[in-house]
Structure formats: structure tokens, C-alpha cells
Subunit: 226 residues, 2 copies
């Protein structure tokens, strides 16, 4: 019964495991960028790492688990990027913070479109995109948006319909934020507008019209934050 049985040694295996998992995930991201989610192949990752296919099943139970892990990482990464984006702007200027958030959102998505698609594109093969862990991970980014909007205050004009107000209140409460329904609705609408712009840009729809996505985005930004 040793006080600290073998603290360093005991974790060597774990550290190795963690590192291999990280390498696998990185290789997977590479494949994702090239071939899309459907082209992600465990065998190919193994080959890329100089390891034969089934070896990776020691580290990930299935291809789907690997994908899920990538999704969670991406959510966390996005939330971090947004946090960094708004922390550049003092909280005394909430509108500038909102703009920074929006630009950060788009920047992250445009810089790594495959990861953004992973988050919002497909309910992949069959897996339920709403496992507990996924919902939790996606909450962080939304909470950032909500906090920025709360600082900005409510300037929604139209009154909310009754059912919507109660639903929003329930949601805001579950999100452990204050429950102003108008702020919640605004968050949803801004998010949805951002997502619309970004996903069309990423899908190449603007480019195929010969239109610069930068210009479209900047043209829309004032309306978003107004």
C-alpha cells in the first residue's frame, strides 16, 4: 500500500495513449480536409501513421466515436476562438464585441471549413448528432453569444408571441443564464443569420456567383448588430 504507488510510471501508458489518440485525430483532420467526412477511413489513417488498420481500434471504439471526438474538439475550439475574438474588445463597447464575435465566428469557419461542416453540416451516417456530450460542448459558444448580447441590452421592437416567450425563458434558464426571452430570441436569430452566411460561403455559393464573400459579410454586419 504505497503512498504514491508509482505515479509517474502508472501514467506512462496513459500518456502514450493520449498522444496516439491525438495523432490519430490530427491525421483524421487531414483526411477530413481532403476527402470530406465520408472519405475519412480508419485504414487510411493507419497507413498514414505507419500502423496497420485495426490497431487503431485499441484507441477508438469505432469510426463514429472518432468522428464524435472530432466534433467535440471542434466545438471547443470554436468557443475558444470566439472567446479570444471578444476579449480583444473591452466590454464597455458591447456592439463592437458583437461584431468581433461575428467576425470571429466567420473567420474560424472559413479557415477550417471541413470542421465547420462537421459541426453543422450533416447528421453524418447514422449517428444521433444530439448525444449528451455534443449538446454540452455546443453550449459554450452559445453562452458566449448570449453574454455579449446581454451586455448589449435589449432593443427588440416587436413583442414576442406568448408560447415563444415561455419556451425561450425555459431554455435560457436551462442554459444557466438570465432568462430574458428577448435576448434569447436575438441570439438565435443572429446565430442563424451568421450560420446562413457562413455556410453558403463555405459551400462556395457566393464564389460561384463571382461575388466576394468578404463584401457580402461586411455589408450584412451592421444589420446583424443593429
Amino acid at each position: 500500500m504505497p503512498g504514491l504507488p508509482a505515479p509517474k510510471a502508472a501514467r506512462m501508458r496513459d500518456r502514450y495513449r493520449a498522444q496516439v489518440r491525438a495523432e490519430v485525430k490530427q491525421a483524421a483532420l487531414g483526411q477530413l480536409a481532403e476527402s470530406g467526412p465520408a472519405g475519412l477511413s480508419v485504414s487510411a489513417i493507419g497507413k498514414e501513421l505507419g500502423v496497420s488498420g485495426p490497431a487503431l481500434y485499441r484507441y477508438f471504439a469505432s469510426r463514429d466515436e472518432l468522428l464524435t471526438e472530432l466534433v467535440i474538439d471542434a466545438y471547443n475550439d470554436l468557443a475558444d476562438a470566439l472567446q479570444v475574438a471578444i476579449s480583444d474588445v473591452p466590454s464597455q463597447e458591447p456592439r463592437a464585441r458583437l461584431e468581433a464575435l461575428a467576425r470571429g465566428y466567420r473567420s474560424w469557419a472559413v479557415a477550417q471549413p471541413h470542421r465547420y461542416r462537421l459541426l453543422f453540416g450533416p447528421p453524418m451516417p447514422g449517428y444521433d448528432a444530439h448525444a449528451r456530450r455534443l449538446v454540452e460542448a455546443s453550449q459554450a459558444a452559445m453562452n458566449l453569444l448570449l453574454s455579449v448580447l446581454r451586455d448589449l441590452g435589449n432593443n427588440t421592437s416587436a413583442p414576442l408571441s406568448e408560447p415563444l416567450a415561455t419556451q425561450l425563458a425555459a431554455w435560457a434558464q436551462a442554459s444557466a443564464l438570465d432568462g430574458d426571452p428577448a435576448v434569447g430570441l436575438r441570439a438565435i436569430l443572429i446565430w442563424s443569420a451568421l450560420h446562413g452566411l457562413v455556410s453558403l460561403e463555405i459551400a462556395g455559393n457566393f464564389a460561384s456567383m463571382g461575388i466576394d464573400p468578404d463584401e457580402v459579410f461586411e455589408a450584412q454586419l451592421p444589420a446583424l448588430t443593429a
Copy 2:
């Protein structure tokens, strides 16, 4: 040299081909609704039609060609649905027409989410989603939106940046519509907002917040058409 060599008979083969192709596509749509695009399997379709796998390759060169066909059909179907939606409203009320268009867009998407995802979700496995035929097919729906907006007139407040204006003009010209850049920009923004709302709804993001998508959509509609 018969006047009509065998007009009915000559087309019997073709008619058969067309019917089989239609049946295959319908079966494919069924699979799509159940298993998503990744789950669509030629073998399974064959089994469903009581025919062994490779037989279908007489009718579609590849799985991708089948998918492309489904995409084009979906574009055309969407455009038809939008046309029907706005034809219910007299053109003297352009704003009501725009609302009808927006509701029609959402209705179509919500009624057949798998087809909507097929259009705007993923650049599937590897195929380039921007083949000539696809772009042409997608144009019809956009032209409807543009025509409705042109009737509504331009009430954009902010002036356009110079590069954006010329890009929009070039695009509108290529689209064989009048070249008011402001109308073009508005079309893009409305489309993008619609797509954002609809794709989030379809992905189940609103439902997982316990929020009724109907309410969100109706709450946003006035702002869209304003």
C-alpha cells in the same frame, strides 16, 4: 423508309428505361430519408426493386450520377414549389409574395429535410457540387426570388461598396435579370437568412432547445421582408 418507322415501338425501350430510372430514383429517395446520403446503397436499391445489384448500372453510370440526378430533381422541385407558393398571391402585393416565397421555401425544406440537406448540406463524398447542370438547376429558384424582389422595389438603405456593386451587377447580368445591384444583394441576404433558419431547424437545433421552429420563423419573417 417508313414514314413513321415504328414510332410507338421505337420508344418502347426508352419508355422502359425511363420508368426504371424513375423507380430507382424513388427507391433512392426512400433510402435517403432513412439512412441519409451516406447510407444510400446501389445494392440495397436493387434488392428493394427485386433486382440484383449491378443491374442498376445499366441505368446509372455510378452512384454519384444517381445522387446528382436526385440533386437536380430536388432543385427543380423546390423551384416549382416556390412558383406555386407565390402564384397564390397577386403580384400587386409584392411583400405578401415575398412572405409566401419564404414560407414556401421553409415548408418545402421541412417537409423533405433529406432532400434539402442533399441540396445545401454536404459536398458529398468527393464530387464537385458545381457541375454545370447543378448550377443551372439551382438558378431557377434564385430567379424567382429575384423577380419577387424586383417587384417589391429597392429599399436598401446603406450604400454598397464599389467592388460589391460591380460584382453584383455582373452576376445579375449573367442571370439574365435586370442588373440592379441592390436587389441582388437583398436576394442574397434573404436567401442566406432563410437558409440559416431552415438548416438549423432541420438539423434539430431548435428542437433540442425546446423551442418551436414555427414561432422562431414567424418571429423573423417581418424582419426578413421589411
